[in-house]
Amino acid sequence: MRTTLSSLALLLVSTTAPAFAKSAPLPEEAIPSVATLPADYPASWLLVHDFHFNALLDGRIAIVDTQNEKLPLKAQVRAAQFANYLLSRGKREIYTAETFYSRLTRGERTDAITIWDTATLEPKGEIVLPGGKRQLSVSYTGLFQFTNREKWALVANFTPAQSITVVDLDGRKVLNEIDLPGCAQIYPTGDRGFASLCADGSLISMTLDDKGAVASSKTFEGFQDIDRQPLFGMPALVGKTAWFVSYYGQLQAVDLSGAVAKPLPAKASVGTAEGGAPEWRPGGWQVIASDAKGLLYVLMSPNGREGSHKDGGTEVWVVDPVANKRLRRIDLGGLAGSITVTREAAPRLVVSRPDAKVDVFDAQSGQLVRHLGANVGANPILLVPAQ
């Protein structure tokens, strides 16, 4: 009798019930059963990029509830091979820009944007990106951005020729490709445009027409001094103002609210402090964040020197950039690589550690609120608040 019938049957074993109370047995449970998420994620949630160094082609977005110290991981979304991602709160969609090969590591390359429903995390659609040119690099928010009121997305390309693909998310199609030699990172401006940083230190700002073609372009020379004050690529946004921080702690603002980006004359600094060896400098991957009041939070390394800018930091310095005044220092009790600040009523400073642990601090008092443990992913390098 060579059937699975016998295998099933032999599983069921005779047991003799010991002397327990004669309660009713636990009920049978409904399967299949699959959880869903609220379509609108709470302010305590983050979309964390688990970059997955040991399997870069198998990265993920971890959806994380920072208020839940028992079960912070709410779900995982595929984010293959140096992916980038966006959340549209209005459309209740997550977008991943990914790269695939027909044989995992070899064969035909396909770049595509996948559209995921925020509640079910089921894919709703896909837009293939032509040319196999999507920029693959350690995760920056500026490689995939909305424009045109989240109807469109801009994708950075690097072959190493640099360009931007304009995608109509709602229409599920690619609109245009814009050559952008010598410039990197995308910062959306106004209704339909973006700014980018260029190799000579300039900032370029382009507006787009309704076909996704360049309508106007303006260059601001000398925006940054890449030799003396290079800027970290990811700024913190205060409203529509992007605050960049340099390797040495200088703060520089760009107004992105209008059709054309406007570098602001206001400059500030994170300040200095004793105790550095040789000095305190910003250090880490995602080193600057803002809160709803417009304060900036900068991750600081006490071992600042040439090459320390990705080493991570042990303190967060809180700065009022308008007053150019440091308000306080938060001791993280150990090294962190990335930081963000939530928009909760009581804002939280969330930090990820080199050992994949995530900790939550009170952004105002600087007190530790809770440990989330190493329970959200292998390499949580980007922390993006859901609100």
Binding site: S7, L11, E28, A75, T120, K357
Partner: protein
Amino acid sequence: MADFDRWTEKLSRGLARGTSRRSSLAWLGALATGAAVIPALPVARAATPAPSGGDKRPPVMSSNPQDPGDATTCEYWRYCAIDGFLCTCCGGTVNTCPPGTEMSPITWIGTCTNPADGRAYVISYNDCCGVSSCGQCLCNRNEGDRPQVRPQANNDYNWCLGTQSSIYNCSVAAIVGVALEDAK
């Protein structure tokens, strides 16, 4: 699912879903040989390393004292024959798959003794599919596990079968019945 063995599918779906459960179990029970004795206390994890080490999680207990234990640990009573990432740690629950996954309709089963009521329950270990390895709370226990010649008693198979994707994310442990009527 075109290649399914229809007979097997029907049988295992029936079991897994709990539909016609009582009659299937009674029917199967009549054939049972009473071979293995299920130990009352869960044993240790098997020799697979924990993923990304971290602080110990706070316990996740059910609200029902008749279902005791921490569903994020391998020692929880229902996990007596599980092999994989515990869905409780992945965005699901002990018997619910995480968002974005699909639960396998067919599965392997185990018989685990609930220390609170002494009953032997039939546990369906359904896999959640379509999202890559969860990476959290890896657990392997093998009470009642038998070689691959007995598929429904073997946890080495990837049971992401009959799903749109065979990619494995995590495993649940759902109660689908009490092992024998006379155990009540």
